[in-house]
């Protein structure tokens, strides 16, 4: 790893980012188009002093990751749609039991087995609402190989900081694409570990939060004996049916991630300052949208791009700001309109929101997005 640009595959960058962030445990199950991450971790982890294990399915993979994290290791798994569906049970468990972990979902065409070798953005809502109950959600959406590396590192920082599962979400195209990227070394301490208890074992309560809502976390086997359960529990981790206790922890788990923006800037914009039309897109769709912005500008349309890098929590404020200054919003996504509704909600009816969707296993193309933009700006109304 160094500052020299190299030709890197997206999934290879993900494995490199994980190792650089201090990930020392990987459990996974083979699935296209994410398998290169497992293969990379299987090759690299022994030398890093870590553990790789191929589990019997994706349910077991995330279970093993949670077990390893409770033992004190930074831990990760990677999968694609069908496997991500199976992982929902343990995403909920990790959120409920507040166990840091990183889950990479390399999207392919769905539903079901779908289009295994094709890109898609079909999981943008599942990643938020897939598990039952109300859970905090931190989801990062890289749009380039370099960003896969950067945001995988960031995912570990967020998971450790907030004691919660974090998802890195990208698609088959970015996973298998090779492009020039700088993979900067992560300095020692660059990804701070989870907060440790300041009290002796006899006074430790694993779910007694500090002022920011995050409770210090001890490792199993560190002298602190405590209970971890997926049942609603009190500060001590003991199951409870008490409505007030359940409610307090439920709300705390959602609220504790509020300061995530201090670790990752949630959106990256392109030419939004004077834009009359803003395209909202993430991941692969944002790459096509970037191209469309350039072409629209050449044609006299002041277009811009609003690109969520943190997809969840949804960047409401950024969308609101854009909606206040543009005439229309175009939402480009490789599904049949999942994020469009979020954008409509955030825009609050201030401007028209136009969906620009593709879900046939092919990449959305700049021309399709450009056509949506042009439809909003008749030729006569353009600046020269």
């Amino acid at each position: 790893m160094n500052e020299i640009p190299q030709l890197v595959q997206g999934n290879a960058a993900c494995a490199a980012g994980a190792i650089a962030a201090g990930c020392r445990f990987y459990a996974g199950y083979p699935i296209t188009p994410s398998s290169e991450i497992a293969e990379g971790m299987a090759r690299r982890l022994p030398a890093a002093g870590g553990v790789f294990v191929q589990m019997e399915d994706e349910i077991a993979s995330l279970a093993a990751v949670i077990g390893a994290s409770l033992g004190g290791l930074r831990a990760m798994t990677a999968t694609s749609g069908p496997g991500f569906s199976l992982m929902q049970e343990h995403i909920g468990f990790a959120a409920m039991a507040e166990v840091p972990c990183v889950i990479v979902n390399v999207m392919r065409g769905g539903p079901s087995t779908g289009l295994p070798t094709s890109p898609s953005q079909g999981d943008l809502m599942q990643v938020r609402w897939g598990t039952h109950g109300d859970v905090p959600s931190l989801v990062l959406t890289p749009a380039s190989v370099a960003e896969v590396y950067e945001l995988t590192v960031a995912a570990f920082a967020l998971a450790e900081r907030f004691r919660t599962p974090v998802v890195v979400l990208y698609d088959e195209m970015i996973a298998h694409m090779r492009e020039e990227a700088v993979l900067p070394a992560v300095p020692d301490g660059g990804v701070p570990g989870r907060r440790r208890p300041a009290v002796p074992p006899a006074r430790y309560r694993p779910y007694e939060p500090d002022a920011d809502g995050v409770a210090p976390m001890a490792d199993f086997g560190s002298g602190y004996r405590f209970h971890v359960t997926g049942l609603a529990h009190d500060d001590r981790g003991y199951p409870t049916q008490d409505a007030r206790t359940a409610d307090a922890h439920q709300r705390r788990r959602l609220d504790k991630i509020a300061s995530y923006e201090s670790l990752v800037a949630p959106v990256r914009g392109l030419r939004l300052d004077d834009a009359e039309v803003a395209i909202v897109a993430c991941g692969s769709a944002a790459r096509a949208a970037e191209e469309a912005v350039g072409e629209a500008r050449r044609r006299g349309i002041r277009a811009g791009l609003l690109r969520p890098v943190v997809l969840w929590p949804f960047p409401d404020e950024s969308v609101r700001r854009a909606a206040a200054s543009v005439k229309a919003l175009v939402v480009a996504e490789m599904n049949l309109g999942q994020i469009t509704r979020e954008v409509e909600r955030a825009a609050g009816g201030r401007v028209p929101v136009v969906p620009c969707c593709r879900a046939d296993g092919e990449l959305i193309e700049p021309e399709q997005i450009l056509a949506s933009v042009e439809s909003l700006c008749p030729a006569g109304a353009r600046v020269s």
């Binding site: 553990v51 589990m55 077990g67 409770l70 468990f93 074992p201 490792d219 086997g221 002298g223 001590r236």
Partner: protein
């Protein structure tokens, strides 16, 4: 022997088991076996799934992990690989371990990871109110087999032996002293140790099948296991309280059924790092 009450969490009492349930006897034997190890209390981790037996974990004062239905062996695998210094025990039931979690159980056995897995077999889903389990005897009445079970039950020990468990034993709640020995051997075994315990559910199985009082059910365990240590190879295998009109012949095998050595999974994983793989 020191006081095993130090292994219990007073804040979690009273426990949630029904009157007459055998699980407490089994848990007591397990705690006495843990006590015999002289292990530091904080170096013991107990991982459990969902169900009556799994729910015991909250009452035990170790590092305890109450997971999802059937998945305890997978959580335990991750924990043990991350922390080989911990002694990791898995508590599961017949529904948890053999139905929804059957896949995780057989793969833990296949890998021969150093876990001690105790499966409480009460032949029924107790926590959810008495539904059919993969261990319910043929003909047995449950809330979801109201006309008698038309399926065949699993033999958990044979399943585990075939999957590659290097220690397999079966004991009875009726014999807590023998159980304690069995658990002690399982805990000291360097690899995947599986111990099935026949433990009764008078509330949701006995009552529906006319098996009498909790004590009568315990005595029945003893009668069914008349030939203790019958070898697995003899083919003699059946389950307790057989209510089929034509019950299978032969007693339930108890005691140590498999005790072999095979390289332990975690040690092999760590050898990759020590051997410089990937450098």
């Amino acid at each position: 022997m020191s006081d095993i009450r130090r292994f219990l969490r007073p804040a979690q009492m009273p426990h949630i088991l029904c009157p007459g349930c055998s699980h407490g006897i089994v848990a007591g034997a397990l705690l006495r076996a843990i006590d015999r190890l002289d292990a530091e209390q904080g170096s013991v981790a107990v991982v459990a799934g969902i169900g009556c037996s799994s729910r015991l974990v909250g009452s035990l004062d170790f590092c305890t992990l109450h997971t999802t239905h059937g998945r305890a062996p997978a959580f335990a695998t991750g924990l043990k690989l991350a922390r080989p210094d911990l002694r990791v025990i898995v508590l599961t039931g017949d529904g948890d371990g053999l139905a929804i979690g059957g896949n995780h159980l057989i793969h833990a056995a296949r890998r021969n990871i150093d876990l001690t897995c105790v499966l409480f077999n009460n032949e029924v889903y107790g926590m959810t109110g008495g539904q059919l389990a993969p261990t319910t005897p043929s003909g047995g009445t449950t809330t979801t087999s109201p006309y008698g079970n038309v399926e065949a039950p699993f033999d958990a020990c044979r399943l585990m032996a075939a999957a590659g468990a290097t220690f397999v034993g079966r004991g009875l709640a009726y014999e807590p002293v023998v159980l304690e020995d069995l658990f002690t051997r399982g805990l000291r075994h360097p690899g995947f140790a599986f111990i099935e315990v026949i433990s009764d559910c008078p509330e949701f199985y006995g009552r529906y099948n006319g098996l009498g009082s909790p004590t009568a059910m315990l005595y029945a365990q003893k009668r069914a296991a008349a030939a203790i240590d019958a070898p697995l190879a003899s083919g003699a295998s059946t389950f307790l309280h057989e209510s089929d009109p034509a019950p299978a012949a032969g007693p339930v095998e108890t005691g140590v059924l498999v005790d072999i050595e095979r390289p332990e999974f975690g040690a092999r994983v760590r050898a990759l790092a020590a051997g410089g793989k990937g450098r």
